[in-house]
Symmetry: C2
DNA sequence: CTATGCTTCAAACGATCGTTTGAGTTCCTG
DNA sequence: CAGGAACTCAAACGATCGTTTGAAGCATAG
């Protein structure tokens, strides 16, 4: 198997991630993908079975990594860690992944697209690979916000996830200014998000 | 012109809105649209010129209405209105529109898709029809948050817009429970968003 | 009534889509 | 070295895409 510096499978995954991010799942054709990956058109169906399966694999690869990092950051926390620290364990890995190489940024947009697609199959897949992590974090938040009811906590965690998704995908109007490095821009985004979210969570 | 209860043009717009919401711009074909609208396939190119122009029209129709309502709500505010009231003028029209009939919900998803598409042409269009409203609101927020620097204010307004977009599109994990009416669910969403956002904006 | 301009229609255009095929190549194993 | 699995390849499949065409329908104005 494999052989070349990067295997056919990996090259397809990376090209697909980038093209799905730019043109959407329906908008990016397998011919574009295989052409960018410099592999034969039939390779996708050979290695992944279908375009849909390829889409799933694009998700799985990055989501596994993101979840791994989030849980690791969460476990590194002391019991008496602040709400801000817990939020950082949730937010920082996401925004870091979002700016790692070309693929990271691409994946984040793909993720945002998945939300937008409202595709039930994809949502179920995301919920399965993602839901338990969100649950863990919600529990930690709950411990640091004893004044919140369950309902209240769910709503606010949801809002945090929304603001984060939005920030990850660079949807906002705020564009990084030329004199600010990408690393610095990300640091600012993390800082603002945590400050905003912790105040929002603590409200009342 | 027109004739039937609803003109060909309107029927196309409504069918397109619904189908773009469900399958995306690339994912919904003109044949699906014209079939759902019960009009001839060629009618789209006759009335709108192209599929892209049709997409633009889908946006213009709803965005004009949303902006109109937001500005009206903003102007109805007293000078000494609270931050929460200003936020409500921004948030409430959006979430109301998002739950008006079938078309409203569809449009919101279309809007979310537009964000995800990262299509420069569409983004420019949105910025032109939308930017000045956001600027107006930011100014009002600024008046009620004198402790914030310009940068800080921009960041936080951006986060609010993100959380709102997320909430409008029903991206969140929180699903309306069967024993809660849609109207009540929306009211809760508005309430939670305002409380969260006002605390986040006031942070520090 | 005829003529004119707007609208609708069925049909077809070339292009591109995801997928399949079957022969060819490569590489490890026995 | 022979055999076979793993993989790549060019070519083609039928389906569907956005768009165009030219004739037919239909109202209003002269």
């Amino acid at each position: 198997m494999s052989g070349t510096p990067f295997s056919t499978k990996q090259r397809i995954l990376e090209a697909a991630e980038s093209l799905f991010a730019r043109h959407g799942f329906a908008g990016a054709s397998l011919r574009q993908v295989t052409s960018a990956a410099k592999v034969n058109l039939a390779a996708v169906n050979y290695h992944f079975g279908s375009k849909d399966k390829l889409i799933e694999e694009v998700f799985r690869r990055r989501l596994d990594e993101l979840n791994r990092r989030r849980l690791k950051a969460l476990e590194a926390l002391q019991d008496d860690a602040s709400l801000e620290e817990a939020l950082s364990a949730f937010i920082t890995p996401a925004l870091e992944l979002a700016h790692e190489g070309e693929g990271g940024a691409a994946f984040v947009r793909v993720l945002a697209r998945a939300y937008a697609e409202h595709n039930d199959q994809l949502r179920a897949f995301l919920s399965n690979n993602y839901g338990h992590v969100l649950k863990r974090f919600t529990q930690v938040f709950a411990g640091k916000l004893p004044h919140l009811s369950r309902d209240e906590l769910y709503w606010r965690t949801d809002i945090v996830a929304g603001a984060l998704t939005y920030a990850m995908a660079d949807f906002g109007i705020i564009q990084r200014r030329p004199n600010v490095s990408e690393r610095e821009h990300r640091a600012q985004a993390i800082e603002h998000l945590i400050r905003f979210a912790s105040a929002g969570l603590r409200a009342d």
